[in-house]
Structures are given as C-alpha cells and as structure tokens.
Symmetry: C2
Subunit: 130 residues, 2 copies
C-alpha cells in the first residue's frame, strides 16, 4: 500500500501528530494522545488504535495490557493537517488509566473549582494486574 | 476571584494548555487550539472562548471577526491536567476558518486517501470581509 496519504499530515519536528479520540456511538471525547508514522500505519492496518507514548518513548497498542482496545470506525484530519480525530468503539467502556470511561473527568464548577464528575468503573489495580 | 484553580493545570513550558472544543448539542468535535492563562481566565469571565494563537502570537477571541463566537457550556480537564475540553454552543454553526462546521473535514477512505466530507457553509471571503 502506498504511503502517500501519510505525507499529507503535517508531522511535528519530532515526527508526531496529535490525536483526539472520540467514542463513535456516544460521541464522547475519550482522550488525547500522539502518534508517529508507524503508530498510524499500524492503526490503519490492524483496525485498532496504536499511539506513541511520549513518556515511555515507545509504541503503545492501546489496550495491550487492559484489553480495552479501541476499534477504529473512522479517521479524520483537520484543516491544518496537524490533528487527527479517531472515532472508535471503546472495548470495555473504559479508556482512562484511572479506570474511568474517559479522561475528561474534572469539571470546572462555579468558574473556580475542579470537581470529579465521572465514576471509576473498574479499579486500575484490577485492570493492570495481569 | 482566586486563581488557585488555574494552578491545577499542567501548563507547558511556554505557558500553554491544549484545548479540544466540542459542540455541546451535537457532541461533534469542532477544533483543537491552545490557551494561556489569560485566555482561560477571559473564557471563564466572559463565557466565550478565547484562545492563544501560536502563529499570530496573540490572544484570539474566537469569532471576533466572523461573529462565530463559542458560548461556553462546560469546561473539563483531563487526567494528566494538560488538556482542556470545552463544550460550547457554536454561534453561526461554523467553527472552521474554511467556512465549514468543524475543522475535521478530511476523512481517510480505503485506508489510503483523504476525502473532503464536510461542505463549505459560507465562503470565507464573505466571513472575513468586514
């Protein structure tokens, strides 16, 4: 398969592109992460989200430990060609490493305080204890 | 008003935080941008999205030229405290500078080609010709 489509992307100086991941059926925003070329190619080839972990400096098949893989429904690219939007099925209904549905669980209330508004669905110690 | 809530945010070395903006009623992802502290404070104080334009190096009241302001419905912060999610009412139904509803109008088809799938609602020359 030709890689020409990868060249449309405006990769950062360190070869990354930002990714917003959204649950396809609920349209909830799950998380924001990064991909390099290999991660994006693997994502397309396997149909499951692969990211580049900047902290661990390695490829990361989302769900490789937890089983909470993300099945790709659609991939979009923005007007500046520098942000991808993944629309996925979130297996297990948990995308956050805290055991919550999504990573955006802190809500600003009264313009001055952060309140946790999403429940922990599964204890992270159970998720990652395999 | 105390600014303690701003200190929870994991600001980048250049004082910015990434922002994903989502339309509250449709849950569609509109755009991704950046804020500094002033932009976020103005957003909360005025109830309309303000960003930091990295290309123009200035504060940017979204819609200041086009009239397509974004009225804040909710502000969320992610698990790493380094990405904000704005849920907004998009006035005029256009958030992209190309005159489209949102910025994610390129769709990957057949795993190898980008296809524009969102229509131009209003010609950008009309939007910005005031």
């Amino acid at each position: 398969m030709s890689d020409i489509w990868l060249n449309k992307i405006n990769w950062s100086d360190d070869g990354l592109v930002q990714v917003v991941t959204q649950e396809a059926d609920s349209n909830k925003v799950l998380m924001v992460a990064w991909m390099n070329r290999t991660a994006l190619k693997l994502t397309v080839q396997t149909g499951e989200a692969h990211y580049w972990s900047r902290s661990r400096k390695k490829l990361w098949h989302k769900g490789e430990e937890s089983g909470h893989v993300q099945k790709i429904k659609e991939i979009r690219l923005d007007c500046d060609d520098d942000v991808l939007l993944l629309r996925v099925e979130q297996v297990g209904g948990i995308s956050c490493h805290t055991g919550r549905h999504n990573c955006f669980f802190n809500k600003l209330e009264d313009g001055c305080q952060w309140v946790v508004v999403e429940p922990v669905i599964k204890n992270p110690e159970e998720i990652y204890s395999k």
